[in-house]
């Protein structure tokens, strides 16, 4: 039996409370507040205490999907990425880079936001990058 308490940060609101994920035999068994964290000092709200639940949800996507005749088909990464790249390329070739927009996210990490904006600007060639945070 293995058990680990892995420090992380709550991904609900912008307060950014320190949590510990209780991992038992490679499964997320629970969430605890980090007692000595400068933001929350050992306390959490109802969302933070249940942070593991949405991660353990049976509704999680498990593999990429592509639409074919109105229905989603499960697919592998190579195909999904190839289709996405081909469609972006075709649209940019035909209508120019300004015909592409990217919505980044308040839910992904800084590193990922940085890469997404780099991809939009350096690779797709568009400055139409935004996020839905004001919504």
């Amino acid at each position: 039996m293995e058990c680990e308490l892995v420090p992380s940060v709550c991904s609900y609101c912008g307060t950014g409370c320190g949590v510990l994920f209780e991992v038992i035999d490679k499964e997320l068994a629970g969430t605890l507040p980090m007692k000595t964290h400068p933001v929350n000092e050992g306390k959490l709200c109802i969302k933070g205490w249940n942070l593991h639940e949405h991660i353990n949800s049976p509704l999680r996507l498990k593999q990429p999907l592509v639409r074919s005749f109105g229905r989603f088909l499960k697919t592998g990464w190579d195909e999904a990425i190839a289709i996405a790249a081909r469609r972006f390329r075709e649209i940019i070739d035909q209508y120019g880079p300004e015909s592409v927009g990217v919505l980044v996210s308040a839910k992904i990490t800084n590193e990922e936001n940085y890469l997404a904006m780099k991809l939009a600007r350096a690779v797709l060639g568009t400055n139409s990058v935004d996020h839905c945070a004001r919504l």
């Binding site: 039996m1 420090p7 209780e22 068994a29 507040p33 109802i46 205490w49």
Partner: protein
């Protein structure tokens, strides 16, 4: 002491030892196992308390015969007594090491972040229930003042359920706090004072006065005092001191397991 834990792990006296280690200056709970014996060099005592015995119950529920060692304070041991009485763990599988024992050789590093309990401010002292108050002092207010002071505290509640979630002796599969007919859902604060009183009643014979609930309460509600009061009644009426003895029968105010005879009400007056 580290050598002793090491030997236990090597010999199979325990399969896992739950203590603390330091990560980036913070004390965090850690499970030491046979596979990572060298990690034991980092075993420390923590100035910030976690309910290590609750982690133990999570492990035991998955593997009932698991032998678990726990770095324990007095409160951890009382909680373990209650958990044993209620069949949440098998006491035979639990070995404790006294964290307070200076001879244990498990140190608290000085360069480590610690947990500061709340210092009740003057306004709270004026209108609420000071966390440091004794049950007798809280009792001394006249009835309407007592009521309004407690209501002030309860109205701060943000319904995080932290008091329940952190509690080492809260293990019910179905919690009355989530019973829709008992406590409404929707707005904040939750139904006052029912939410808090339901929990208080349920802590009778369970609460071992560790104070973790109060440390986890974002609203600094004087929860410990509330439950202490309930248990004081138990002590006065039934001479039942929760968690004091592993051989105690379980106490249930509402169920059918009350095996204790109440003593006469005027016994200690």
């Amino acid at each position: 002491m580290k050598a002793r834990v090491r030997r236990w792990l090597e010999e199979g006296t325990v399969d896992v030892f739950i203590g603390y280690r330091q990560v980036d200056g913070h004390p965090l709970p850690y499970c030491f196992t046979r596979e990572n014996l060298d990690a034991l060099d980092g075993l420390i005592n923590s100035p910030a308390r976690y309910a290590l015995e609750k982690i133990a119950t999570h492990l035991a529920s998955r593997q009932p015969d698991l032998k678990i060692g726990i770095l324990s304070l007095d409160t951890n041991r009382r909680a373990l007594n209650v958990l044993g009485i209620w069949n949440q763990i098998n006491p035979e599988n639990i070995t404790t090491v006294d964290a307070d024992d200076a001879a244990s050789g498990v140190a608290t590093p000085d360069d480590m972040r610690t947990f500061e309990p709340v210092v009740p401010g003057p306004y709270k002292q004026q209108v609420g229930i000071d966390n440091a108050m004794s049950p007798a002092d809280a009792e001394a207010f006249d009835q309407s003042e007592r009521f309004s002071r407690w209501m002030y505290e309860f109205e701060k509640c943000i319904k995080c359920y932290g008091c329940r979630n952190i509690c080492p002796v809260c293990f019910c599969r179905e919690c009355s706090l989530e019973h829709r007919d008992l406590i409404g859902t929707g707005p904040l604060p939750p139904d006052v004072p029912i939410f808090h009183l339901v929990r208080a009643v349920h802590m009778a014979g369970r609460c071992i006065d560790c104070g973790l609930c109060e440390e986890a309460c974002p609203a600094d509600i004087s929860l410990r005092l509330l439950y202490r009061k309930v248990n004081q009644i138990l002590d006065n009426v039934f001479e039942y001191q929760t968690g004091s003895d592993p051989g105690q029968p379980p106490f249930s105010l509402l169920g059918n397991q009350v095996t204790l005879e109440p003593k006469p009400l005027d016994a200690d007056k």
